[in-house]
């Protein structure tokens, strides 16, 4: 009887002690805010953000530097107001230590004032907008892992100039939203710098039903290159209407959309020949990082694991968000704590080899202090393949004019 009582008492004490230790364990959590476009117009971006985060947490394991990783997924609802609410909630109510997201340029810019209220370490795996770059000039805790607009235009302008020579004519069509307006100057500047003459710039409304007037006006200027600075929804209408109008322009250049499978599926044969630039392309066999091959595996291995899990090929934002999150976890591990200043320092010193290229954060010409993955591969859609045409050292084919 005495033994039974002792056993019960011991068991009771154990339960009490375990219970007492629960709050201590609960404190050892690293909260990573993940505000993404999980509904609304840009839900395709948010889905990639969510998948990238899931892959990263799975790859790293449930804990980092002795802290459990807790991902706080929030829906920014593809609206500015939703973004402000999500960011405010993450930082003020949930006390997120780190934030990765959102993606679309407009929402990233909308998140800045909320972020300024309580500056967590913020990794931005999207937004190519110079407006955002201006807003974060000199900010030590913002890390941008996506190319800026000028990376696109500089890369494509140089690639086409290298292929067809200088002194050619370029026309630009851009949307009246923040995406188009924030990039038009960079496009003008870099095509001008590469020796092109900008002969036309045409503005179109977002969600327009008809781009024919803009295209017919462009036709009269007989450009050699047409650059389309539009979001995917409008880029589908643009590609179809260019194909229908038979403009006879030899080189068509897009921003991010020519790489998207949804864009290619939607426009069918009109996708062929489009040129664009990005830091990631599928099936390029980027090597694994020699020091962390499990976290930054060879691209073909990661792509295979992704396909197995989601039954689809990864898009570039899947890769960008995955890479951003794993770099953050690794920096936290090396910092030994979630102290944001220490983690920021470790992120700057990480220097890993990833599917997006070298993971080195550097200062940009626009004033952002921490930019990684600005090296662009210029490619052309040739049939169903992406042919890398620039830089020459990594090219696996040559640029060809549209038929």
């Amino acid at each position: 009887m005495k033994l039974t009582l002792r056993v019960i008492a011991a068991a009771f004490s154990f339960v009490l002690l375990s219970g007492a230790s629960l709050p201590v364990q609960a404190q050892k959590v690293i909260k990573v805010g993940a505000p993404y476009e999980l509904s609304g117009k840009f839900v395709a971006y948010g889905a990639q953000g969510q998948r990238g985060m899931e892959m990263a947490v799975d790859a790293y394991g449930p804990a980092v530097a002795g802290h459990k990783i807790e991902v706080l997924l929030k829906d920014v609802q593809s609206t500015n107001q939703g973004t402000v609410s999500a960011m405010t909630e993450l930082l003020q109510k949930d006390n997120a230590d780190f934030v990765i997201g959102p993606i679309a340029s407009g929402f990233v810019s909308a998140a800045v004032p909320a972020w300024r209220q309580k500056k967590a370490l913020w990794i931005v795996p999207g937004s190519s907008s110079p407006t955002f770059e201006e807003a974060i000039t000199g900010e030590e805790l913002v890390f941008h892992t996506y190319p800026w607009a000028y990376h696109y235009h500089e890369g494509t302008a140089k690639a086409i100039a290298a292929a067809i020579g200088k002194g050619k004519k370029v026309a630009i069509i851009y949307s009246d939203g923040s995406y188009g307006r924030s990039q038009i100057q960079a496009a003008r500047d870099y095509y001008g710098e590469a020796g092109f003459q900008v002969v036309a710039t045409e503005l179109v409304r977002e969600n327009t039903n008809d781009m024919s007037p803009a295209l017919q006006k462009i036709r009269l200027t007989k450009p050699d290159v047409l650059v389309g600075i539009l979001q995917t929804t409008d880029a589908i209408v643009l590609a179809k209407q260019i194909h229908i109008a038979k403009l006879g322009i030899p080189y068509l250049v897009g921003t991010a959309y020519p790489q998207l499978q949804e864009w290619a599926d939607a426009v069918g044969e009109a996708a062929d020949g489009w040129i664009a630039a990005n830091s990631y392309l599928p099936n390029l066999n980027a090597p694994a990082d020699p020091k962390y091959p499990k976290l930054f595996p060879a691209s073909k291995d990661w792509e295979a694991a992704f396909k197995k899990r989601y039954n689809r090929a990864p898009e570039f934002l899947d890769v960008t968000v995955y890479t951003s999150a794993v770099m953050l976890f690794l920096a936290i591990e090396r910092a030994g704590s979630p102290d944001k200043q220490k983690v920021a320092k470790e992120l700057r010193n990480l220097g890993v080899q990833t599917m997006l290229g070298d993971g080195n954060f550097v200062k940009t010409r626009g004033g952002a202090l921490n930019q990684a993955f600005g090296e662009m591969l210029v490619y052309q859609r040739q049939g169903k393949q992406f042919t890398v045409v620039y830089p020459t050292a990594r090219a696996n084919g040559t640029l060809r004019p549209m038929k």
């Binding site: 509904s39 609304g40 117009k41 840009f42 839900v43 395709a44 948010g46 889905a47 009246d176 710039t201 045409e202 503005l203 179109v204 409304r205 969600n207 327009t208 039903n209 008809d210 781009m211 024919s212 007037p213 803009a214 017919q216 006006k217 009269l220 995917t232 929804t233 409008d234 589908i236 209408v237 179809k240 209407q241 194909h243 229908i244 109008a245 038979k246 949804e262 864009w263 599926d265 939607a266 426009v267 069918g268 044969e269 009109a270």
Partner: protein, 292 residues
């Protein structure tokens, strides 16, 4: 050749597309006096119906049109019975909010099932055009124009030549008088709501190969359609037809003849709407109405 002839072609073709988008909305308001804020979602459902039949059964959107229109009409009937019938006599604000909510639900259900990916149907005629004397006539838009004419004519014929059509007009003119004449008003409301949805779905089928299909495409079309219906005169089918072309000519003209005018086109078109409403508050062919 200058831009003017091509401007005329583009404006006429755009007018046809606008007419297709707005005529269902006009019919629904004309009969029920309810502005259907879910009309854009009926267009969206039609576009997805056409897309799914094209992608999985290889049925051309034009062949799929009757099937899709009937399917969306049945969905509209369900919405009418479950939601709308209960608020027929409620204040307009309640009706608008209810239909707006129905639209949001439809958007998000489709987004859940289909994801938010942008889509479009690729048909041989959607990517081709005929060149005549330097003029480009896109086949897809020309087909949209013809479909618009055929459906508008069919609607007018149905309203004028059939018993049900005349009953619908009677309800539109006076609900009380129609009731006294033995017309089942609720049934006529349901029928016109279904036909309106079917017309929306038909325009969705056409839009599926011209524009981008997404769960959120409906709102912009609703705004455009609403502007056309107001400009033409609320509830006037003929007014809707005229207003579609007025708006299309205004937009296309600005886009063609003003520097970077594509960005101003809609603003100028809405300015036209404002001017017309100041001069003629009931719209181009509308008649002054009083309450319900």
């Amino acid at each position: 050749m200058g831009l003017f002839p091509q401007f005329l072609v583009d404006a006429v073709l755009l007018g046809g597309l606008y007419c297709l988008m707005a005529v269902g909305l006009s019919l629904a308001y004309g009969v029920t006096r309810i502005i259907n804020f879910a009309h854009g979602e009926f267009i969206m459902l039609g576009a997805y119906g056409a897309y799914l039949l094209a992608a999985h059964a290889h049925i051309d959107p034009l062949l799929a049109l009757p099937l899709v229109a009937v399917a969306v009409a049945l969905i509209a009937f369900l919405i009418f019975k479950v939601c709308l019938e209960r608020v027929l006599d409620a204040p307009h604000t309640n009706q608008i909010l209810l239909l707006f909510a129905v639209g949001l639900v439809l958007q998000n259900v489709v987004a859940l099932i289909m994801t938010g990916d942008d889509r479009s149907v690729s048909t041989p005629y959607a990517l081709t055009a005929t060149e005549i004397a330097g003029l480009s006539l896109p086949h897809g838009r020309a087909i949209a124009f013809l479909v618009s004419l055929i459906l508008a004519a069919a609607l007018v014929l149905w309203l004028r030549r059939t018993e049900l059509g005349r009953a619908t007009q009677a309800v539109a003119q006076s609900r009380d008088a129609a009731t006294l004449m033995g017309i089942n008003v609720i049934r006529m409301y349901a029928l016109s709501f279904m036909i309106s949805a079917a017309l929306g779905a038909a325009s969705g089928c056409v839009v599926s190969f011209l524009l981008t299909v997404s769960p959120f495409m409906g709102f912009h079309m609703l705004v455009k359609g609403f502007a056309i219906v107001v400009l033409g005169g609320l509830g006037s089918i003929a007014g809707t037809f005229v207003a579609s072309f007025v708006l299309a000519f205004a937009e296309t003209g600005v886009a063609y003849f003003v520097n970077e005018g594509g960005g101003w086109a809609e603003g100028v078109a809405l300015a036209v709407l404002l001017v017309v409403l100041i001069i003629r508050p009931s719209g181009i062919l509308g008649r002054a109405t009083e309450g319900n």
